[in-house]
């Protein structure tokens, strides 16, 4: 499967010693994970385990208390300015990025949400062209062309002028994926993309994600669809109570889990 993929050169995600607490409740505890360019990684874990929080730190939708996240070597939310003389003055300082720079770096990462979060007052097409036009990446004509192409790709070429409420859940999620793709992100995050869908609509969304997996974009997926995770992932991460307990190929983690918590979780889920 990995061999079939185009060789990706961008989309390296590094998560280093990340901790995060809400009040006294620690959601992430010293989490480290490296995701290679073009890799498809699924994060599994019981609810409240911190998997969604971990995913959201990659796009700075959640700030971290300790540790850092970077994409292709550039830090999320901060800029590292080294001292002129590191031997004498130390390794330098981290400067908080301005809003504008944060937004710029965010466009490298697309997010697909559990509840789609399409803009309800805009049509499917307008949802997709909004960001490329607002960020002056494309002209209106080019953005429209791109959006129509993306809608075709997710099988909704005829729904360009429909408002989100006129679409089924599965169709809305496919528009949301097209919207995330419009900025040509290096990394795509999926936060339980099928959890809000009726069972018979799950398949159409998974089909689209499966296609993306073969195109060389780095994908990080939080899901409860174990069968899909097994089929599409290069690696699976199991997380519980803010700790990464297990990382490995689907065969390793799903087929031969080492940690008792993983075994317990899989026994319940299967």
């Amino acid at each position: 499967m990995t061999l079939l993929r185009e060789t990706a050169t961008t989309g390296l995600v590094e998560i280093r010693s990340v901790s995060k607490s809400y009040g006294t409740h620690e959601v992430l505890h010293d989490v480290s994970l490296t995701i290679e360019p073009g890799e498809v990684v699924t994060i599994l874990g019981p609810s409240g385990s911190g998997k969604s929080t971990l995913l959201r730190t990659i796009n700075h939708l959640e700030t971290v208390d300790r540790g850092w996240v970077s994409i292709d070597g550039s830090l999320i939310g901060y800029e590292h300015r080294p001292e002129k003389n590191p031997a004498k003055d130390g390794p330098g300082k981290l400067y908080e990025l301005k809003e504008k720079e944060i937004l710029g770096r965010r466009t490298q990462v697309g997010v697909v949400f559990q509840n789609f979060n399409l803009f309800p007052h805009l049509t499917a097409l307008q949802n997709i062209v909004e960001a490329p036009i607002a960020l002056k990446r494309l002209s209106k004509v080019d953005a429209r062309q791109l959006a129509l192409g993306l809608l075709d790709r997710v099988g909704l070429g005829d729904k360009a002028d429909a408002y989100p409420r006129q679409l089924s859940g599965g169709q809305q999620q496919r528009v949301a994926i097209a919207r995330a793709l419009a900025l040509q992100p290096k990394v795509l995050l999926f936060d339980e993309p099928t959890s809000a869908l009726d069972p018979e609509l799950v398949g159409e969304v998974l089909d689209v994600i499966r296609d993306l997996a073969n195109l060389g974009t780095t994908l990080v997926i939080v899901t409860h669809e174990l069968g899909f995770a097994r089929e599409v992932s290069d690696r699976i991460v199991f997380i519980d109570h803010g700790h990464i307990l297990e990382v490995g190929t689907p065969a390793e983690v799903l087929g031969n889990p080492q940690h008792p918590r993983t075994r317990e979780f899989l026994a319940k889920a299967l």
Partner: protein, 339 residues
């Protein structure tokens, strides 16, 4: 005609059949439907018709209305000028009020505690003072600060600007009073609208890297508009009528003008009716505008937009027209059945 006969015969045939057999399934679809009679509704309806008829009757027969005086003054130049001032006050104070209200709403939602508490205090203060009192205070501010100039620190530019107009004109006092009052109220309405937008929308906008200006004006406000608009139109209509308060500082808006005229000619009621009718006309125009603007912002939140009154009227006429064709046929059926 044949279909009519056919229908008549079926209504006849069923009871006969069952008189004989009493068994076998009844085809309920073919039976005649007797509508429920809503007696209470009819009686109350008649009562309402009576009250309205009595009112209309007195409108036309009671001499105290002096419709000739009403007609004479309705389009009088003084009244129209007063109307112009009423509209000007509404537009100016309304625009300043809503823009300032929008800024205050964003300030209250800001992460800066300084900005949000300033906005809170502003809203608290200007909501606490009755509009009437405020207008009179602004009008008499000259007593308090007769010599305020550019040199004094800690005053806002706004303040200095109207002081330099040398002790505030009545118009400036009216605009200030109405606008500040309006700003405090619309700030809360706009904030409520913004809060009603799902948090996921902001998150999605942020994840797409949309700049703050786009997030506010393209994503949040158009969605907030749906819950802002009904209240905002309430406020605009309230403001339009509220302008009558500034008659206390002798500003010649439409209500002040009517008062001046009836103090001279003693035709109190007809002159008041002039004001009543004009206010009604203006609020009616606003209500119609409200319908269409709300309909515009309903895009996406309903699957099919509700029909406009014109579309509804056209549809009603069409169905009535279609029924005209049916009506005689139904009558014959009934007659036929009875015969």
């Amino acid at each position: 005609m044949t279909s009519v006969l056919g229908r008549t015969s079926t209504t006849h045939a069923l009871p006969l059949e069952h008189a004989d057999t009493t068994t076998g399934p009844i085809d309920f679809g073919a039976l005649k439907v007797v509508p429920t009679r809503h007696w209470a509704r009819w009686i109350l309806g008649a009562l309402v018709v009576f009250v309205v008829a009595q009112l209309l009757f007195s409108l036309f027969t009671e001499p105290g209305y002096h419709w000739d005086v009403f007609a004479k003054y309705f389009f009088a130049p003084a009244i129209l000028r007063g109307l112009g001032l009423t509209l000007l006050l509404t537009v100016v104070a309304g625009s300043i009020g809503f823009v300032a209200g929008g800024v205050l709403a964003l300030m209250r939602l800001s992460k800066s505690p300084l900005l949000s508490s300033f906005a809170w205090a502003f809203i608290w203060f200007f909501r606490s003072i009755p509009l009437l009192v405020q207008v009179i205070v602004w009008f008499n501010l000259g007593y308090l600060y007769p010599t305020i100039g550019l040199g004094i620190p800690f005053t806002t530019e706004y303040f200095i600007e109207f002081q330099t107009v040398s002790l505030i004109s009545a118009f400036a006092a009216a605009v200030l009073g109405l606008a500040l009052h309006q700003a405090a109220y619309s700030a809360e309405i706009i904030r409520g609208g913004i809060l009603s937008v799902d948090a996921g929308q902001l998150e999605a906008a942020a994840a797409l890297g949309l700049p703050a200006r786009v997030r506010v004006f393209r994503i949040i406000l158009p969605q907030a508009a749906r819950s802002i608009l009904p209240n905002a139109f309430n406020e605009v209509i309230g403001l339009l009528k509220g302008t009558s308060i500034v008659s206390v500082i002798a500003l010649s808006e439409v209500f002040y003008v009517t008062q001046v005229i009836y103090n001279r000619n003693h035709m109190v009621i007809p002159m008041l009716i002039v004001a009543v009718v004009w206010y009604t006309i203006l609020t009616t125009v606003l209500s119609i505008a409200q319908f269409y603007i709300e309909r515009h912002f309903a895009r996406g939140s309903v699957r099919v937009l509700p029909p406009t009154p014109i579309q509804r009227a056209r549809r009603w006429v069409r169905t009535q027209w279609d029924r005209l064709d049916d009506a005689p046929a139904e009558k014959t059926t009934e007659n036929g059945a009875r015969a």
